[in-house]
Each structure stands twice: as C-alpha cells, then as structure tokens.
C-alpha cells in the first residue's frame, strides 16, 4: 500500500515538475521567435525570473524521491540513461547560470551568447525528458542485474523521438501562453499567435503518440483492466481542446492552466499505465523494476510520507503566494529598475 502511494506521488511530482518548468523550458526554446529586441528579451527573462528556480526544485525533489522511495529504480534509471541525463544536466546548468549572468554585463555579444545558452538549455531538456519518458513507457533494455544493455541511439527510436517532439511542442505552447499572461501589446499578441500556431502540431503529435502507445507499449493494459482510468487520457484530450478554445477567447491565464492540465494528465496517463512497473524491461518482464522489487523499507516510506504530507502543502502554499505576488503584467520601467539592482 505504501509502495502504491509512493508510486503515485512519484508520478505526481514528475507531472508537477513538467507542468511548472515546462513553461520555462518552452519559453526558453521559442524566445528567438518571440522577442525582437533586447527590451523584449528582457521581458521574456523577467517573466520567468522569479519562478524558474522554484520550479526546478520540483525536479530535484522528483529525483530525490526516486532515490528515497525506489532506490533500485533510481540506480538503474540514472546509470542506464547516463549520457542523456548528463546532457540534461549540462543544459540545465547553462540555463540556470544564464538567468544569473546575462544581465550583469552590458554588452550585446555577451547577451547573445547567453541567449543561445537559454535556447539550448531549454530545448535539450524538453526534448530529452520526452525521449526518456517515452522510452520508459516502452521499456528499457535492462538485464537481470539491472544493467542497461543499450546506447544513446537505442533511445532514439521512432516512439522515443515522438515523445521528445511532443514534449518540445507542448512546452513551447505552454511557454508562449505563460508569456501572454505576463505581457501586453505586441509581445503578448505574438506569443498568443505562436501558441495558436503550435497547437495543431501538438494535436497531431499527441494523436500519433497515443496511437503509437497502443502499438509499442503495454500502457493500455491497466486501462482495459480498469476502464474508469480512461478518465485520465480523456481529461488530457479535453484539456488540450479547451486550451485552443480559451486561446481563441484570449483568456490567457485560463489557457495556460488548461495546457498545464494537458501536461499533467498526459504524464499521469503514462505513469498510471506503467503501474506497477517503474521501468519495464524490454528484454524480459521479470527483469522489470517494480513497486515491489525496487521500493524502500516500509519505515523509510512512512517517514518520507510524513515529511511529504507536512511540507509539500506548505511548499505549494508559498509558491502560490509568490505567483500572486508577481501576478501583475510586466512594465518596462520595472524591468529597467531591476536592471540596476
């Protein structure tokens, strides 16, 4: 039972991470298409400034929880996906320091370099997380010792790439919507228009992905055994459709929330389909890492649960407060003021 609770929390943590940082990763990826001059680029950075780091902690927590609740899975997953994880890591490092370094020197060349780092540092994690999760849904070639019998190329199969592209496109839409909530005028219009343009791409990729999932993975087994669970992919589809509808009404905040719901329910769709596996083995089902064979001791799970139930609501409360505090649209003079501080 404890294992099941932690499996769900594990999935929720990843979903929340993608929902929050998906905005930043997506906006970073499309920044060159949206911001036409330095003032606009500053607004793009500033729209993420107070949030990206707090968002990224959800990744650290998701990683930490994998380590704490399912140590064997953590060991197999992180060592098996060594190269893509290292790439994600370097990308996130570049993205992180970009926020700290870019504004510190008033030189166009300097800023160009960091703008490039932002794009790379946002695009790569979006793509690779998608590739990694799609492969997770499909199963990794892990043997009886938990050793990954593949290479980086193994992951770049059509289904993996479809997952990567789905993540990139949905984050790009999500990030553009984020910018619409923080700006007005030209920049907002451009961001809204881009989100609308990306939406059909997301739709097509989502349909391809859902169909391919049926052929390539066993995710649907849980849904067939328990049809009520079809609610989850239905929510995802409904949320994606309503995102478009809300965009048409220029209800930007609601559109962002709706696309956040799309992301969360898509990730949960995969995670629920995985259960009870955390990493299905594509070599032999008996080599799979599962809730039973990879979880921590009941004592650890209990203590962790107490910590999570106490502190995660608190985290949510103060992060919501931060969103409320910085809810206003950005004004140019404020950006200029902060440049000097």
């Amino acid at each position: 039972m404890l294992g099941v609770i932690w499996f769900l929390l594990w999935g929720v943590l990843w979903a929340v991470y993608f929902m929050l940082d998906g905005s930043d990763l997506g906006l970073g990826t499309v920044m060159p298409a949206l911001a036409k001059n330095d003032t606009e680029r500053k607004l793009v950075y500033r729209s993420m400034g107070p949030f990206w780091d707090g968002n990224e902690v959800w990744l650290i927590t998701a990683g930490g929880v994998t380590f704490a609740a399912f140590p064997a899975t953590y060991a197999v997953l992180f060592s098996g996906l060594y190269t893509p994880l290292m790439l994600i890591l370097f990308a996130l490092i570049l993205r992180g320091v970009t926020f700290a370094f870019r504004g510190k020197v008033d030189d166009p060349k300097w800023r160009q370099i960091w703008d490039l780092c932002l794009v790379l540092g946002s695009f790569l994690p979006a793509l690779l997380f998608g590739v990694a999760f799609a492969n997770l849904f499909k199963g990794l070639p892990i043997d009886g010792e938990g050793i990954y019998q593949g290479t980086l190329i193994t992951l770049l199969n059509p289904y993996g790439i479809a997952g990567g592209l789905l993540f990139v496109s949905i984050f790009a839409m999500h990030g553009s919507l984020w910018l619409t909530t923080k700006t007005d005028g030209d920049l907002q219009e451009r961001a809204g228009a881009l989100a609308k343009k990306i939406w059909p791409v997301v739709l097509i990729l989502a349909v391809i992905f859902l169909l391919a999932t049926q052929r390539v993975t066993n995710l649907y087994d849980n849904y067939q055994a328990n049809p009520v669970l079809f609610m989850i992919p239905l929510v995802a589809v409904f949320a994606l459709l309503s995102t478009r509808f809300l965009m048409a009404m220029s209800a930007w905040w609601k559109a962002w929330i709706s696309s956040a719901l799309t992301i969360t329910s898509t990730v949960l769709f995969g995670v629920v389909g995985l259960f009870p596996n955390l990493i299905p083995s594509s070599l032999d089902p008996k080599f799979s890492m599962t809730v039973t064979n990879s979880s921590s001791s009941p004592l650890t799970l209990k203590i962790m649960l107490a910590v999570a139930l106490t502190f995660v609501p608190l985290v949510i409360a103060y992060q919501v407060w931060v969103h409320y505090l910085f809810k206003d649209k950005l004004a140019d003079d404020e950006v200029a003021y902060e440049e000097t501080h």
Partner: protein, 441 residues
C-alpha cells in the same frame, strides 16, 4: 584509467567546484539578513546599501551553487548506482528531505528577495532573506547528516541485501553528524567573514566609501572572530570524535604508523607510505597526541600498521590537507584577534588591510582541505566499514565517464572564471551612491 577512478575524479571535481560557492552562500546570507534587519530597525540607509551591495555578489555566487548542486544529487545515481541501491533507503531519504524542507524555501524566497524590492514592505523583504539564510543552513544540516552517515553509519540493519533504515532518530541525532555540521558551518562563516573583510579592505585601502566599508568590515570581523575561535575548540572535539569512530582516518591525518600509548605529536614529519614510516621527524612532543585524541597522555592511539593495507586511506593527501587546515585555522584566529585591536583605526592600518585583502583565498583553501581530510580519509570506504568505494561504482563504459568528466572540467572551468570575475567586478565597483532612490512600498 578505469571507470572507478574516473568516477571518483568526477565526483571530486563536482564536489570541489560546488563547495567553492556553497560556504559563501551559508555565511553571507546571514550577514545580509543582519544588515537588512539593522536597516529595518534603525532606518540607517547605509545598511540597506550594504544589503544590496553584498546581495549582488551573493546572487551570482548562489546561482552557481544551485546549478552545480543538481549534479551532486544526480551523480549518486549516474556514477554510484551500486551505492544508491545499497543505501538509498537511508541516504536517499535524507537527500529527499533536504530538497523538500530546504531547497524549495531557499530558491523560492531568494527569488522573492531579488525581485520583490518594490512589492514588499521592508520588514517582509528582510524576512525573505532570513528565510533564505535559514533554509540554506538547514540544507547544510541535512546534507551533512547524510555525509555523517557515510562516515559513521548508525540506525540501520543489513537486510534484503542492502542497508535499511532501522532508527531514523539515531541517524539524525548522532553527535558525529552535529560535530560535522558545526565544523563545516563554522568554516563557512569564517569564509564569509574573510570575504567581507577582504573586499572591505580593498576599498578602505583606497580610502573610498570609508564609513560604509568600516561597518561591513566590522560585521565580517565579528562573524569571523567568533567562529575562528569557536572552530579551534570545536575542531579539537571533532578530531577526538574522529579518533574514536574512524581510527584509520586519525592515523592518516597524523601519519602515525605504530600503535602506541603515550603517543607523541610530531611537529614536522614527512610520511613515506611505501615503507610505512616517516622521514625526518622533528619535534616530537611525547603524549600530546594521546592527550589531544583521548584526553589522556597514556591512552593508546592506533597506528596505520594496526590495519591491513587495503583498509587504510591514502596517507599523504590526508596528512597534508589536515595540516593545511589546522595551520590556517590558527592563522584565522590570529588575524581576527589582530582585527579586534585595529577595528577603530582600520584606515590607518594599511598593512593589516593588505594582509586581509590577500587573505581572501585562505578560507577557501582551508575548507577544501577540510573536505579532503573528511572524504579522502574515509577511503577505501564509501560507507565506513560497510561498503567499499570500489564496490559502489556504476556499471558504465570508460568512454562515457571520460567524456562527461572532460565536459565537467571545461564547463565548470568556464563558469568558475565567469562567476569569480563577475563577483570581483561587483566588489570593485563598490556600493551604489547615496542617497538611494526612494523605495515605493
């Protein structure tokens, strides 16, 4: 080179680099919080300018600390998967708790502090930096509890082919963990104090912003003074705990080969690991090592030869790092003590100011040396007497780790140069001119 060695080098490089930034974060956040509180209480604008001036340096430093911290968490899984699997039940949960309790708080409120000057009342704004200071120190608590468990594992049972948690309270309350915490945190506060004093000295030497930097210097001095002297006492207590719990580490720290009662403290000697002896031993003080380690001149101190070769840590690095750390520790106490007498005539003491300016790197060296004693001295164990480092490494290809290590060295090297030059630039530029722009609340 094999995967084990490459992974060790990579972990050492990643930790070394991360630990170049974290200690300043720990101490400077507290100093900035105090500065801003003084401003809120007294309305003295100099302290607001001080919070902003040191805050700029802090933000650059913090950012590099944050991004390199993720590497450390990921690396246990990527490079030390057998370790993660074996002890994740305990070690993993401590890291997860650290993230939930501390990282969220730290990252979220630092952003509020950096972006919220106009949106919060002065009191609420000061509260944010206090939360950052508390959270970053709290994260040090959890990470050092985790490290202490590798040094002296408690509260676990070996079951199901791994170490499982048996007594959580024992893990978080073991005195050794708190010794390590106080030792490290004191080092971090000394570093912050010296950085603040050093940068202040730069400006005082040039006779610019005299009042401003005299205030900063004195605050740095107070912090460094308290913790330099505290560290001398605490360091001694800590070392005697090491003697009890990690005798191989103590023997390597002192390069003591033979087990002996009334063990002497040698003032100068050079270990010869191959022949299991020391060259050139100068100034043996009989019984002093026994006295220091066990508070009894006749106590028996175990020598390295009492342990099989395969259970001994590398002697030379442990021995040298320990001496460097201790010597610098005494120097910090001396320099801060001189500061007490010079504090009212800083501008008239150019020699002292010059010494303090050039002392900025010293606490960095001391902290890294201390870290080396802890980690190299723990070898060949990853968890002392429970798991060997060589059994902990991931099943990876040499090329994978070779490439990632090279990438770390390049990326971190560049980041390090940029971060320190930005901090240097802000330090030299000095505070914004008075009067500061009126803040709108």
């Amino acid at each position: 080179m094999d995967v084990l060695l490459l992974s060790r080098l990579q972990f050492a490089a990643a930790t070394f680099f991360h630990f170049l930034f974290v200690p300043l974060t720990l101490g400077l956040s507290v100093l900035i919080a105090i500065m801003e509180t003084i401003y809120v209480k007294t309305g003295d604008e100099d302290y607001l300018r001080a919070a902003k001036f040191w805050g700029k340096i802090f933000l650059v430093n913090f950012a590099v600390g944050v991004v390199t911290g993720i590497t450390l968490e990921f690396q246990f899984g990527t490079n030390w998967s057998r370790y993660s699997r074996y002890v994740g039940d305990i070690f993993g949960s401590l890291l997860a708790i650290e993230a939930t309790l501390a990282f969220f708080l730290e990252s979220t409120f630092l952003a509020v502090w950096a972006f919220g000057w106009k949106r919060l009342s002065p009191k609420a704004h000061a509260a944010c930096i206090w939360l950052v200071a508390i959270a970053s120190n709290l994260s040090a608590v959890w990470i050092l509890i985790a490290n202490a468990w590798m040094q002296h594992p408690v509260g676990y049972v070996l079951r199901n082919g791994r170490a499982e948690l048996d007594n959580f309270l024992a893990v978080v309350t073991q005195p050794f963990a708190w010794q390590i915490f106080f030792h490290t945190i004191s080092g971090a506060y000394i570093l912050a104090g010296f950085v603040v004093m050093g940068i202040s000295a730069y400006h005082l030497l040039r006779k610019q912003h005299i009042e401003f930097f005299t205030k900063s210097f004195r605050m740095g001095l107070a912090l460094a003074l308290i913790f330099s002297f505290g560290e001398l006492i605490q360091g001694h207590i800590h070392a005697s705990e090491v003697a009890k719990l990690q005798p191989t580490k103590l023997a390597a720290m002192e390069a003591l080969w033979e087990t002996q009662t009334n063990a002497p403290q040698t003032l100068f000697h050079i270990p010869d690991e191959k022949n299991e002896r020391n060259w050139l031993e100068i100034g043996k003080i009989p019984g002093l090592l026994s006295l220091l380690a066990y508070h009894d001149v006749n106590a028996e101190v175990k020598g390295l030869k009492a342990f099989p070769r395969e259970d001994r840590p590398p002697v030379m690095p442990t021995f040298i790092a320990f001496r460097v750390m201790v010597a610098l520790g005494f120097l910090f106490a001396l320099l801060t003590l001189i500061g007490v007498f010079k504090r009212h005539k800083l501008v008239d003491s150019p020699l002292y100011l010059k010494v303090m300016l050039w002392s900025i790197p010293l606490p960095y060296i001391a902290l890294q040396a201390g870290w080396m004693v802890t980690e190299v001295g723990r070898q060949p164990w990853i968890v002392y007497n429970v798991m060997r480092t060589r059994d902990a490494v991931s099943p990876l290809a040499t090329s994978q780790v070779g490439i990632s290590l090279a990438a770390f060295l390049v990326v971190y090297g560049i980041l390090g140069v940029i971060a320190f030059s930005l901090m240097r630039r802000f330090a030299i530029a000095g505070p914004e001119p008075v009067p500061v722009r009126k803040r709108e609340v």
